[in-house]
């Protein structure tokens, strides 16, 4: 019964996707659309197969930037939110700073960072991803640590619980769904950031760089092959984030309201 339902849920998008590709292929063939405007799906597929190794390498470069930035950003965000919870004065000092950093568009920060590092370095891109992820995690986890229900606080005080016990038994568990929500938001953001950061100079080994360079030399089918690679990379992060969400719901039966 359950399997039948999941099959039912899976079929419509697959059928729709196939129909979409067929219509695309047909339109390109019938109207004789030039390759530099829009290549046919089959052309993209063969370019993808022909450049599989190159695309894969570019996916690894961009994917590694996103993943490294994501992991560091999450760890840093968690660490700082604990510090902020402990010292509320710092909270007031750093929040405007964090907001200010977050308000500076990625387009502006990346070239600045590129200037600071040697030409072949991936560090500026990773720093950029860290910044984006860090902020999302910081805001959410800090909220989870702080916003403990009034009843829970009174209850813990009625047990004469120490600050440490309140932290371990109330604040941290309360913050965990917030952390998962933050990671769910940050996972796709980290790919997008890693990807976009490549448009602003630096080494030319990632997906974003490959797409711009192939576009500029009118190798459109190859460019589209890289776009396909980018889609698959983004999809894998998206699936990971869905999995994160499921993990939260299983544990807590609900998701906290998310903050960005």
């Amino acid at each position: 019964m359950r399997r039948a339902r999941s099959l039912l849920a899976i079929w419509p998008p697959i059928v729709f996707g196939l129909v979409f590709l067929i219509v695309w292929e047909t339109i390109v063939a019938v109207y004789d659309i030039k390759k530099f405007l829009l290549p046919a799906p089959t052309a993209i597929a063969s370019a993808f197969a022909g450049n599989l190794e190159n695309v894969w390498e570019a996916v690894l470069v961009t994917g590694a930037n996103a993943l490294v930035g994501f992991v560091l950003g999450v760890l840093l965000g968690i660490a700082v939110s604990f510090v902020l919870m402990r010292f509320s004065v710092l909270n007031e000092l750093t929040t405007p700073l964090a907001v200010a950093i977050n308000a500076v568009p990625i387009v502006i920060i990346v070239p600045v960072l590129n200037n600071m590092y040697p030409a072949g370095s991936q560090v500026p891109r990773r720093v950029m991803v860290v910044l984006i992820v860090f902020f999302v995690v910081l805001v959410n986890v800090a909220k989870g640590l702080r916003q403990v229900s009034g009843t829970h606080m009174e209850l813990m005080r009625s047990y004469a619980a120490s600050q440490r016990e309140i932290l371990v038994k109330t604040r941290i568990p309360n913050a965990i769904p917030y952390l998962f929500t933050a990671m769910k938001i940050a996972a796709p953001l980290s790919v997008i950031t890693a990807f976009v950061a490549e448009y602003f100079g630096g080494t030319q080994t990632g997906l974003g760089s490959a797409i711009t360079s192939n576009a500029s030399t009118s190798k459109n089918d190859v460019m589209w092959a890289y776009v396909l690679g980018a889609c698959l990379l983004g999809l894998s992060f998206y699936v990971a984030s869905i999995w994160l969400e499921k993990a939260t719901t299983r544990q807590h039966g609900r998701n906290p309201v998310m903050t960005r």
């Binding site: 209850l155 047990y159 619980a161 038994k169 568990p173 609900r254």
Partner: protein, 268 residues
């Protein structure tokens, strides 16, 4: 000298003293509660009955007067976990199983695992929810959650149970059922109860003393003794004495509000 479960002497509570937001919540409260009593605090909303409960719990400290629980200071009684507390929201932790929720106060007391497991099993049996021990709180109905909260409050067998409108969020049917359950549980556990409510029938049905409070600043205007006997059941709700006592409490409440009006006229 008999030791009172709770002895309150000239307690007053003023919030934000000396500032614009100054608020006199309680004025000169004297109240002794004997061990084994079931006492309800009733009054219009904002009369400070919840504040009074929090003074007993030492979640707030009175600005004047003193509060003794089990013959010691309220602060010491809190450290010793001499009381259990239940609130309008069950306040269960979503990330803990029902069993682990009940064991929380025992964990904080440093009990070992085996002893905790025995006690939580005993408490689950007491509130007749043994088969739900491994469920998560959010899988249970509101009434069941509140029963678990009571089980948690009584887990360390405290001599005193403090309840702040614990059934306020429940529907009428569940509420009446919970009231009978509470009496059964407290009789079994031999617990003194201080119960905050704004429902007159609830106060009369549960208590042997109903403490009537006036609007802000809260003062005790009347204490109604309810002699409905120890064993109360659904028939009690149809009993003539029950109705008589409801009327008596209602009139006491009205008197408290009238007194307030008179006072205001006097102030002028």
């Amino acid at each position: 000298m008999t030791e009172h479960a709770v002895a309150i002497n000239g307690a007053s509570m003023v919030f934000n003293p000396g500032s614009v937001g100054q608020l006199e919540a309680l004025r000169d409260i004297d109240l002794d509660i004997a061990a084994g009593d079931f006492v309800s605090l009733i009054g219009p909303s904002g009369c400070g009955k919840s504040t009074l409960l929090r003074l007993i719990a030492n979640l707030l400290a009175p600005t004047a007067g003193d509060v003794l629980v089990n013959g010691k200071s309220a602060a010491q009684a809190r450290v010793d976990q001499d009381y259990g507390m239940a609130f309008q929201q069950s306040g269960l932790f979503d990330w803990r199983s029902v069993r682990k929720n009940i064991e929380l106060p025992l964990e904080l007391k440093g009990w070992d695992k085996k002893r905790r497991a025995e006690r939580s099993a005993e408490m689950l049996e007491l509130v007749q929810l043994s088969e739900f021990g491994d469920h998560r709180p959010w899988e249970l109905s509101g009434g069941m959650q509140q029963r678990i909260a009571i089980a948690r409050a009584l887990a360390s067998h405290p001599p005193l149970l403090l309840m702040d409108e614990p059934f306020g969020a429940l529907d009428e049917m569940t509420r009446e059922h919970m009231q009978s359950e509470l009496l059964r549980i407290c009789a079994a556990a031999d617990t003194t109860v201080v119960f905050v409510t704004h429902s007159i029938p609830e106060a009369v049905y549960l208590s042997n003393r109903v403490v009537v409070m006036s609007p802000r600043p809260g003062q005790i205007t009347d204490v109604v003794d309810v002699d409905l006997g120890v064993a109360r059941d659904d028939d009690t709700r149809e009993d003539e004495t029950f109705y008589k006592k409801i009327t008596e409490v209602r009139e006491a409440l009205r008197g408290a509000e009238l007194g307030e009006t008179v006072r205001r006229v006097d102030d002028r």
